[in-house]
Each structure stands twice: as structure tokens, then as C-alpha cells.
């Protein structure tokens, strides 16, 4: 059975390594991408089952990327978990408004990342 794929759009290398370790142990294929400008193209190329998307990225914000994904017919229903270091209500509202499937603030529990990704893939 082909492993399910997660595309992690995040620019912090050590966070990428930690999430990769957690998810790969559960049988996930984890692909990472750090550049906001080419993130949407990477999603279309990799065709992931779930996207984990950080809000603050170089060159383009996670919210803008999310809007582009929702505007594209092929990705409008793609499960997206948004990560942010700011837990303000405004970010939560924006994430909901732009169509994030889930919203999680940093720092997060490893088990929470894993369970949320599993839930989104099963949805």
C-alpha cells in the first residue's frame, strides 16, 4: 500500500526534521518545501494527501498560499493544517475565513500534529 504523503511548507529546518521524524514513524512520506513563492506549484507537483502550512514564510504568507490553493479547482478541497507562532484570534479567524481545515499554534505537541494529520487524511 502506497504511503500517504504530507507536504510540509515550513522554513525552519529543525521543525521540518522533527515533524518528518514523527510522521515517517507512522508511515507517512514527508516532503518539505521552504519557499512561499513556489509553494503552490510544489503542491500541484507533489499531489499530497495533506498539507501542513506555516503562516510566516519567506516571500509569501501562508494565508496567501491558502487562498491560492482554495481558488484552484484541483486543490480547493485539499486538507490543510495551518501552523503559526501567533495564537491571536485574528490569525485563527483568517485561517478559518480562507479555508484552513485546521489551525494549530506553535509550540505544539508532537502527538497533536500526528493525530491531526491522521484525522485530516481520513476525512
Amino acid at each position: 500500500m502506497m504511503a500517504k504523503r504530507v507536504l510540509l511548507i515550513e522554513d525552519e529546518p529543525n521543525i521540518i526534521q522533527a515533524i518528518r521524524f514523527i510522521l515517517s514513524r507512522d508511515g507517512w512520506e514527508v516532503v518539505s518545501h521552504s519557499d512561499g513563492n513556489t509553494a503552490v506549484a510544489e503542491v500541484l507537483k507533489r499531489d499530497p494527501d495533506v498539507v501542513i502550512l506555516d503562516v510566516m514564510l519567506p516571500n509569501k504568507s501562508g494565508f496567501e498560499i491558502l487562498q491560492d490553493l482554495r481558488a484552484d479547482e484541483t486543490t480547493k478541497d485539499l486538507p490543510v493544517l495551518m501552523l503559526t507562532a501567533r495564537g491571536q484570534n485574528r490569525d485563527r479567524e483568517l485561517a478559518t475565513r480562507y479555508g484552513a481545515s485546521r489551525f494549530m499554534t506553535k509550540p505544539f505537541a508532537n502527538s497533536e500534529i500526528l493525530s491531526t494529520v491522521q484525522e485530516l487524511a481520513g476525512a
Binding site: N14, I15, A18, R25, Q88
Partner: protein, 435 residues
């Protein structure tokens, strides 16, 4: 004994003290005794010609009956009511409440003001976190580093059998991120220490500067006779201007003041101004100087030099008020922009064209003022860039005999507290609507 009384109550007290019967006073001004009774018990508003006539009959000044405090008190009570979850029909009209219980009304008004200040404090602190890019970036970096450390540590603790390669990698990551966290934390502390210094974080820099000028009566003697008084010394004069943000706002104001004082020194300026009947245009011609400088200089005159104080408002091209000097009867908003009908904003639409208008305030205490306004470019001019304009408005109580007949423009303080209905310039609902 309440120290703040509404107009109706004052009329009644004065009438009784003068030994005038209610029916007699009513008849002398052409209204029924019943109506006067309603006025005296603050169940009806009074202003304009009727108030003037009653004041005349009672042989007192109109202002002694209205006092000005009353307008602010009623405004605050109406603001409190607009925010209350209590149904409006259970809230008596503000005038009745204030008339019956002036002490409690003042307490409510004071509480409303305190709540408004606190809300502004919370908003400014939240706003800073949202809109200060340096602070936002620093916190994001901090939390991302903490996340990486936490995740790596949890992996090491919770994973039963972890490959040596991964274990070594996460140990290294924790070590690197710990050092990075120490550096980020130190940078954040330094940033906060530099920006906050000894400033009360609850007070906006603009408020600090406004309070400083208001406390001095907008007149700075240190810059009149001692132009060598530097900014650092001025900042220390109580109430001191602390914090780099407030000081950077005050510095250009001090620079303008110095330039104005040098060009139009006291006491000669006071003599010239009086001889010109306080006409800014004539004063500007005398000194060969621009109108905005004359406006500022007139507003900075200390009370011993002019009978009627001048008010001053300055706004930038966005319409935001950057300088405020209030005078009695012409209130200025503490936050946000003023009434769109002010000549100040008309001047922005016609740069370099002087404007003079008679404006009449709305509300219970209707008064007329003469407003002068002009928008002038600031900063260096060049062929390759658009000029930046600043508008300045001078306000003085209007002496009806002092000028030819003018069209009168009705203006308010700001849309939010203006009761004027059907105003084409209104940009937001008034809290007074429905009262």
C-alpha cells in the same frame, strides 16, 4: 450640594433667587409656563435664541447657565447608555438622570471615561503586537525555536528505540536551538528595553506630547527667550516627554515653535497682532511669512497677550490630527479624525488656498467660531516627487460685529458624537441617535 448642574436646574435656581415667578418669566420670553417647567426640570433641551432671552431676563450670561461641563457630561452618559445591554426604554433620558442625580451622573461619566481609556490601552498594546513588525518577527522566531526544541526533546524522551543517527541529530538541534533561543531572547529584551524605557505602555506617544503641550498652555517660554534650550532639556520639563517615540513626535513641533518665535518674537508680535485685529493674512504680510506659521504663533500666545484664546488643529494628508489645541466650546476628538465639514479638510482639497469660514457647533451649546485654514507643502520640494501637504486650522470665537456677514457652516466634533441628522458628510453612526 452638587457642583455640576444642568441648564434647566440653573435657570430654576436663578429665577427663584431673583424672585421671578415661573409664569412671569415664561410670558416674558413668549413660552408657556408649562413648557418652562419642563425646561427647568431638564425634560426639554434649550439653546439658541430662547436660552439667550432667558439669560437676558435673568440678568446672567448665557455661558453661566450652560457652563460647557454639561455638554461633556451628557455626552459621556449617552456613550454609557449606547454601550449598555439594558434596553433603551429602561434608561431614562440622560438629562433627567443627570438633573435628578448629578453626583451619580458624574460618577457614571467618570467611569465611562476610565473604561474608554482602558479599552484604548488594551487596543494599543494589542495593536503593537499585531503591527510592530520587529516585535512580531522576534516573537515568531522565539516561538519557532521553542517549538523545535520542544519537539526534539519530546522525540528523544518518548521514542523507545531511536536510531543513533536521529538521536545525534536531535541532540545537535537542541544544542543549536538553545543557543539561538538565548540570543533571540536577549535581542527581544533589548528591543523592549529600548522602546519602552520608562514610558507607561498604556499611553500613546501622541497622548504624551499632547498632554505636555496642554499642560504648558501651548506656550513654551524656554523657546521664547532662550532659544538655546535644547530638546533634551525640554523633554525633562514636567510632565516630561519620555520615550523615543514621543520625543520624535515632539521634536518637529519644537522646531516649528523655535522658527515661529524667531520670526515673530514677543512682545512685538502681540502688538502687531492686535493692531491687525488678529487677521492672520495681515500679520503674514507684516512679517512676510506663511499663514500656517502665523496660525501657530497666534495659538501660542499666552493669555496676557490676547483676550480670546485661539484654538489650533493640524492634520496630515491622511486627515489624521497631529496637533490639537482646544478652546472652550470647540471640542476636538481625542482619537480619529474630526468633523469632515471642518475648513481644515476643505483646505486639504485646495492646497495653498486660504479659507475663512464662520462655523457653528451643533449640540446643546451652540456657538459660532471663525475658522481659518490653509494647506501648505512641507519638506523639500522637487520636480521628481509629489509634495506632502499639512493642513492647519486656527479657531477663535466669532465676534458678530467683526466682519461682514458670512455664510455659517454647521460643524460637529466628530461624526460619532454629532447629533446632526441628514448630514451628507457623515461617515459613521452617532451614539446620540435615538436620544
Amino acid at each position: 450640594m452638587p457642583t455640576k448642574m444642568l441648564t434647566g436646574t440653573k435657570i430654576r435656581e436663578r429665577r427663584i433667587a431673583s424672585g421671578i415667578r415661573q409664569s412671569a418669566l415664561a410670558g416674558s420670553v413668549g413660552i408657556s409656563a408649562t413648557y418652562l417647567n419642563l425646561i427647568e426640570h431638564n425634560k426639554r433641551r434649550i439653546g439658541g435664541k430662547l436660552l439667550s432671552e432667558i439669560a437676558s431676563k435673568l440678568q446672567v450670561s448665557q455661558t453661566s447657565l450652560t457652563d460647557g461641563i454639561e455638554e461633556a457630561l451628557l455626552g459621556k452618559l449617552q456613550l454609557a447608555a449606547s454601550r449598555a445591554s439594558t434596553p433603551r426604554d429602561e434608561l431614562e433620558p440622560a438629562e433627567e438622570f443627570a438633573g435628578r442625580y448629578p453626583g451619580w451622573a458624574s460618577l457614571v461619566a467618570d467611569q465611562v471615561e476610565r473604561i474608554t481609556d482602558l479599552e484604548q490601552m488594551v487596543e494599543s498594546l494589542s495593536d503593537r503586537l499585531s503591527h510592530d513588525p520587529a516585535l512580531s518577527d522576534a516573537l515568531h522566531d522565539l516561538l519557532s525555536t521553542v517549538t523545535a526544541i520542544g519537539s526534539a526533546a519530546a522525540i528523544l524522551v518518548e521514542t523507545d528505540q531511536i536510531e543513533d543517527e536521529w538521536r545525534d541529530r536531535f541532540h545537535r538541534n537542541i544544542h543549536e536551538d538553545s543557543q539561538r533561543l538565548a540570543t533571540s531572547s536577549q535581542s527581544l529584551v533589548t528591543f523592549l528595553e529600548t522602546t519602552d524605557e520608562k514610558v507607561d505602555p498604556a499611553i500613546e506617544p501622541r497622548d504624551i506630547v499632547d498632554n505636555w503641550f496642554a499642560a504648558r498652555g501651548h506656550h513654551i517660554p524656554e523657546l521664547e527667550h532662550n532659544n538655546s534650550c535644547d530638546n533634551a532639556a525640554l523633554f525633562e520639563i514636567e510632565p516630561s516627554i519620555k520615550g523615543s517615540a514621543a520625543q520624535s513626535l515632539a521634536a518637529p513641533l519644537f522646531a516649528n515653535y523655535r522658527a515661529d518665535a524667531d520670526a515673530m518674537p514677543l512682545p512685538e508680535f502681540a502688538t502687531v497682532a492686535e493692531a491687525a485685529n488678529y487677521d492672520p493674512a495681515r500679520i503674514a504680510v507684516h512679517y512676510s511669512i506663511d499663514l500656517a506659521s502665523v496660525f501657530r504663533r497666534l495659538a501660542a500666545l499666552p493669555s496676557e497677550y490676547c483676550k480670546d484664546p485661539f484654538g489650533l488643529v493640524v492634520c496630515d494628508a491622511s486627515g489624521a490630527l497631529t496637533y490639537r489645541k482646544e478652546i472652550d466650546g470647540f471640542s476636538l476628538p481625542r482619537f480619529g479624525s474630526g468633523c469632515p465639514l471642518w475648513p481644515l479638510y476643505q483646505a486639504l482639497s485646495k492646497p495653498a488656498v486660504p479659507i475663512r469660514r464662520v462655523v457653528e457647533t451643533t449640540g446643546r451649546d451652540i456657538q459660532q467660531f471663525l475658522a481659518y485654514a490653509v494647506a501648505q507643502p512641507v519638506g523639500s520640494l522637487g520636480f521628481d516627487k509629489e509634495p506632502r501637504y499639512v493642513a492647519t486650522m486656527l479657531i477663535v470665537r466669532f465676534q458678530k460685529h467683526s466682519a461682514a456677514a458670512h455664510d455659517v457652516e454647521q460643524v460637529g466634533m466628530s461624526c460619532r458624537v454629532c447629533a446632526r441628522s441628514k448630514c451628507s458628510a457623515r461617515r459613521e453612526a452617532s451614539i446620540l441617535q435615538g436620544f
